[in-house]
Subunit: 231 residues, 2 copies
DNA sequence: TCATTATTGTCTCAATTTGTAACAATAATA
DNA sequence: TATTATTGTTACAAATTGAGACAATAATGA
């Protein structure tokens, strides 16, 4: 088998959103023996579509296929070129930075994507260089390397801007969900409290939801309907 | 002086919007002796910010500085890798494709930007490889190379999506303009007729316009106010 | 068995925003 | 000085959204 070769100077990073305990969370990796935290990312093979590279990486990290994925910005400032960070990272793994992996110390332009996934579908897997790949609430992120904090902020901003227009909130939930669960997702993304009746009316009027059977949870009150997104 | 070196495999393309005769137009270049049309684009120097590379290219092509510029998507499919196109282009200029310019036949990922400029401020300048750099109405574009048509369509779509949110229409006009001129810009971008009174009310309520003196054009009716954008 | 409790789906009415038309106020013209 | 075309503003209707009320449940427990 031919050795995989990657496009030099080009990377991708992914902001993978999940929702649990009423909070919006993202997957963050911690590198071996360094205390350094970063977004899951990777490189693009020379004969591979950019989008496919990202899907491949996401699959490796989460085990999921069929992911809602959106490209939102490409970061190309010189300020993000800090070879000493990557060097620390490689050396902590006993890799000779003068050898085969020398190219990883070069300047990189990174294409950033965000993904929306159902929290429960995922078993995060660290890669060869990392200790862990774990969920962090967006309000309690560890310090991230390079410009990854900026990338996360831009991802959240774009998600907010797209939320109403694309009605993508449902991608953070299981196939079927209650109106209340959907509302909590919207509230977590927008960081605001929404009015129950107005939210319900808007979602129903948008004509994107299909109503299913009721969900009986054994609680002493009326059971809510389950919904799924149409199509 | 050290020779300029560029990041391999990485390019940018710019969709430069202007407005005249009630139409939205973009700048298209025609390459020497080929009949090939393309978006103005370029490459990123190894020690240069990505955004600065685009601004540099825009300045070279239009003579303008201080341009409203927005990055909107990065195109990285293998389908856009067609070395024969670039080869045609270079050979038509008598350039040996086995020599110094060999790297231009490689696969490229391109970061696409759109710019909004005042039509009158521009004297389009072709570059070394092109015959012309001219305005074309977006509804009457020539056939473009590679995926440049797709890039233009995505630029227009993004511009439409951002128009209300960012109120950027004014960047296509001179500093001072009448409400009617501004409305015509919005109509051209959105491809719809807008209602005069509603448009005026909305723009004034948005509190982004500053009202100046009236504009007397010698017409037999009330003269409109001139406006500029605040800040 | 039947009132109690918490939450849901829907309805009502008020408040706000938007659609639509009317109208008075011009700048030039004839 | 009446006429013309276009402008800025107002007035009212229509549509949308805000805010609360209320009946309809599922369980609970006296």
């Amino acid at each position: 088998m031919a050795k995989k070769t990657y496009l030099p100077h080009l990377a991708y990073d992914s902001v993978i959103f999940g929702f649990s305990d009423g909070e919006l969370k993202i997957l963050i990796m911690e590198y071996h023996n360094t205390g350094l935290f970063a977004l899951p990312g990777g490189f693009v093979q020379t004969n591979e579509n950019l989008n496919d590279a990202v899907l491949r990486g996401l699959h490796e990290r989460t085990g999921i296929t069929n992911i809602y994925l959106e490209q939102f910005y490409t970061f190309g400032d010189m300020a993000r070129f800090k070879p000493e960070v990557m060097q620390t990272l490689l050396e902590a793994n006993g890799i000779d930075v003068k050898g085969e992996y020398k190219w990883m110390l070069d300047r990189f332009v990174t294409v950033a994507y965000y993904a929306l996934i159902n929290y429960k579908d995922v078993t995060p897997r660290p890669d060869a260089l990392s200790d862990s790949c774990e969920w962090y609430p967006i309000k309690k992120l560890p310090k991230l390397i390079l410009d990854h904090k900026l990338i996360v902020e831009k991802a959240i901003q774009t998600l907010r801007d797209n939320l109403d227009r694309k009605l993508v909130g449902g991608n953070l939930l299981p196939k079927k969900f209650t109106m209340n669960e959907l509302q909590k997702v919207y509230e977590a993304i927008l960081s605001v409290k929404l009015r129950r009746t107005t939210f319900q009316r808007k979602m129903l009027a948008a004509d994107v939801l299909k109503r299913h059977e009721k969900q009986f949870l054994g609680k002493a009150h009326k059971a809510p309907y389950l919904y799924s997104f149409k199509k």
